[in-house]
């Protein structure tokens, strides 16, 4: 290979790359997407970002944008790697009229913690994100919408209580938590302990080292412990292996309760028959029967603009999560537009919209999302928004919802969040905002 020729080629390549530009023009609102379509978590990434893009497309096709402001976006591949996510952020934030970032990655959210404050750009982490970021006084630009880890934990315990016939029945029961050996997995350890004290159930928490493709030891320990329930706080390949290993040691799968990152089709399909009867938590049920999903099918896929390659995945857990994420983002913009005017907004103005994101059941019905999401009520202090969750069961082919909306015990948990946030504030010399609401 001729070296000089390849250098010439590279120069041409640089010239092209530098010429690349961003799509947004004057009256367009731009969504920078840090998507991941390759790598170990590609299945989740394609579903979520597929749903998000499908909903943005629906708004453009059906309504001609939000109050006439077109929505645009561009994708930057992160492969779920933090430094790629940071590079994407630094590159994309210079785009015009940036609305908000939606990384769908705890690692990338963590790296953007300080950047978002200096750049004044909202970071939306639906169903995930660090616990402390729910406290809007310290983290004005972070929004772990719908559900944070403490709420999730509380909802799972509440649900187990309901199944046993009341919270008081939890007393004397034994619950094992099987968690992923990562910061994400360990984040809820003190919360489970707190709940165990409050409700009087016996608790054992067992760690599965990353990636979790062999859980013989953990499940033998579980078999010996003979718990009434096992809570699965899994991630990626750890989930199907946990389900299979449960079967292997004879543990009934319908007493295995998965958390929000153990609840997708991708988590159960690999486990095959063993997953029949497995239960998991969800903020947005799967299925295509919701009017808004129907409209996505008609208007977006009908026009050949659908994002999912495999049409069978429409209405899957990740796809619907993407759609719900789309709803929340678009409604935040709509709310902000009502205050600042029907035009493309700055990211600071969009932040105001997220901070006043209030969707009651009436509005959700108008959006065609009844059953897909109950309500949300974000405030200056509470960036989570009091979301509710449901529980679903896998029948070997699809998920079916088996519970009503379950509300987490937020009063009990709020002090944990505030303590974590205040500690961060002290460590980093931040003066928390005063929220007068």
């Amino acid at each position: 290979m001729n070296v000089l020729n390849s250098i010439k080629l590279a120069t041409v390549a640089v010239a092209i790359a530098v010429g690349a530009s961003f799509p947004a023009s004057a009256d367009e609102q731009y969504f920078p997407l840090q998507s991941y379509r390759v790598g170990p978590y590609a299945a989740g990434g394609t579903g979520f970002f597929g749903g998000f893009i499908d909903y943005l497309n629906l708004i453009n096709i059906r309504d001609g944008g939000v109050n006439g402001v077109k929505l645009t976006w561009s994708e930057c591949e992160t492969q779920y790697e933090v430094e790629r996510g940071v590079e994407c952020y630094e590159r994309q934030k210079t785009g015009k009229n940036v609305a908000a970032f939606n990384p769908l990655s705890l690692g990338i959210q963590i790296a953007l913690l300080e950047r978002s404050r200096t750049d004044k750009i909202p970071i939306i982490t639906i169903d995930h994100g660090q616990t402390a970021t729910s406290d809007g006084r310290v983290f004005p630009y972070l929004f772990p919408l719908l559900m944070n880890p403490p709420s999730e934990t509380s909802a799972i315990i509440t649900y187990i209580g309901q199944r046993e016939g009341g919270a008081e029945k939890l007393k004397g029961k034994k619950i094992v938590v099987l968690y992923h050996g990562s910061p994400y997995g360990k984040e809820t350890i003190p919360i489970f302990e707190l709940l165990s004290k409050k409700y009087g159930f016996e608790l054992q928490q067992i760690e599965v080292p990353h990636p979790g493709n062999d859980q013989q030891a953990q499940w033998l320990t579980i078999r010996r412990a003979k718990p009434d329930y096992v809570v699965l706080r899994g991630w990626g390949v750890m989930n199907p292996v946990a389900i299979k290993s449960a079967q292997k040691v004879g543990f009934p799968v319908d007493h295995l309760i998965g958390n929000v990152w153990s609840n997708s089709e991708e988590d159960v399909i690999p486990a095959g028959e063993a997953a029949k009867g497995y239960i998991s938590l969800i903020t947005q049920p799967s299925g295509t029967e919701f009017p808004v999903v129907q409209q996505v099918v008609d208007k977006v896929y009908g026009a050949g603009k659908g994002n999912l390659e495999d049409k069978k995945r429409i209405g899957s857990v990740y796809h619907n999560l993407g759609i719900v994420n789309g709803i929340l983002n678009v409604e935040a913009i709509r709310i902000a537009q009502d205050k600042f005017g029907h035009r493309a907004l700055s990211s600071e103005e969009v932040q105001w919209g997220f901070e006043h994101l209030r969707l009651d059941e009436k509005r959700i019905a108008e959006l065609g999302a009844v059953g897909l999401l109950q309500s949300i009520n974000v405030t200056c202090a509470d960036h989570e928004g009091e979301g509710s969750v449901k529980f679903q069961q896998w029948d070997g082919k699809k998920w079916s919802v088996i519970s009503d909306w379950v509300k987490p015990d937020r009063v009990l948990l709020r002090p944990i969040i505030e303590a974590a946030a205040e500690k961060y504030a002290i460590e980093n010399d931040i003066k928390p905002r005063v929220c007068t609401e």
Binding site: G39, Q216, K248, G272
Partner: protein
């Protein structure tokens, strides 16, 4: 009181896990033995094999035909790797070769996902995974099946290496490359055969692991389970890979169950390496590794 029954259960479970580790480790050993390459792409090959097989089955190809087709694909892949990657890199230092296989794993992973998509697949080999009990000890049917397959594969390889011309050539090369060259053995042909063999191992391991984990990207991570096995058993010994796998499997589980609680659990990730290391400090070339100039 010490619960012996439980201990036996952990031990058996660990040994059966160990079989699965050996399965991956053997693929490494075959290649290392003949060409001195630590083939990190073994994981990617495993993924590629399983993904190809599953995708064929899902597209309506009958089980046996899919198996055969995948086998052909893996053989072609092995030969292609030998031609395009290893042959031009002959005589490079081992670290360069190792890096090349890392690059190779990028290519294979990318190609596998490009061809068959990033979807997660279930793989059902038709073996029930419900356990049965022997004297109160739970034993997984699937794990026994996997052990049987692994045993059969090793036996077939043993026969092949003992009684066929290529097999003999393989052993000659593994013994002494220069002598093999001197008596007129054609190294590239042997290498192609070895890469083919490791492709077959990748297929078998990919199917068995795929049935446990589902066929998805993370399948390529099982190589990490095989590395301590290699350290313990020696990079160049098939027997070492088998015994090492069993040992690592058993030690890992016993450590996690009995020692893990003192540290809050999760020690499996490094316990295997520490054990292998401790062993190596006593015997620097592993259980069955060749004692060459490795000693300081």
């Amino acid at each position: 009181m010490f619960d012996y029954q439980f201990f036996i259960e952990v031990l058996v479970g660990g040994l059966l896990s160990g079989v699965m580790y050996s399965l991956v480790a053997i693929g490494f050993v075959l290649i290392y033995k003949t060409s001195g390459v630590l083939n990190f792409a073994q994981g990617a090959m495993l993924l590629f094999a399983a993904l190809t097989f599953v995708s064929l089955v899902e597209r309506g190809v009958p089980f046996a035909a899919a198996l055969l087709l995948t086998l052909v694909v893996m053989v072609l892949l092995g030969i292609a790797i030998e031609r395009t990657v290893l042959r031009p890199l002959v005589n490079q230092p081992p670290i360069t070769l190792f890096m090349a296989t890392l690059g190779l794993s990028y290519v294979i992973e990318g190609a596998a996902q490009l061809l068959w998509g990033t979807q997660v697949h279930g793989l059902d080999l038709g073996i029930n995974d419900t356990p049965f009990t022997v004297a109160g000890v739970f034993i997984s049917q699937f794990d026994l099946f996997a052990a049987a397959i692994a045993g059969a594969m090793v036996a077939l390889f043993a026969l092949f290496f003992r009684y066929t011309r290529t097999g003999l050539a393989f052993r000659a090369v593994a013994d002494d490359q220069f002598a093999a060259l001197a008596v007129g053995l054609r190294l590239p042909r042997v290498w192609a055969a070895v890469w083919t063999a490791s492709g077959i191992v990748a297929l078998v391991a990919g199917l068995l692991w795929g049935a446990r984990l589902g066929v998805q990207f993370s399948l390529s991570l099982v190589v990490l389970k095989a590395l301590p096995v290699l350290v313990l058993g020696g990079f160049d010994s098939v027997a070492g890979a088998i015994v090492g796998g069993l040992l690592i499997g058993a030690i890992e589980k016993i450590a996690e169950v009995y020692v893990g609680p003192f540290f809050g659990g999760g020690i499996e990730a490094w316990a295997a390496y520490v054990v292998a290391l401790g062993f190596l400090l006593v015997r620097p070339s592993g259980l069955f590794g060749q004692k060459l100039i490795e000693r300081v």
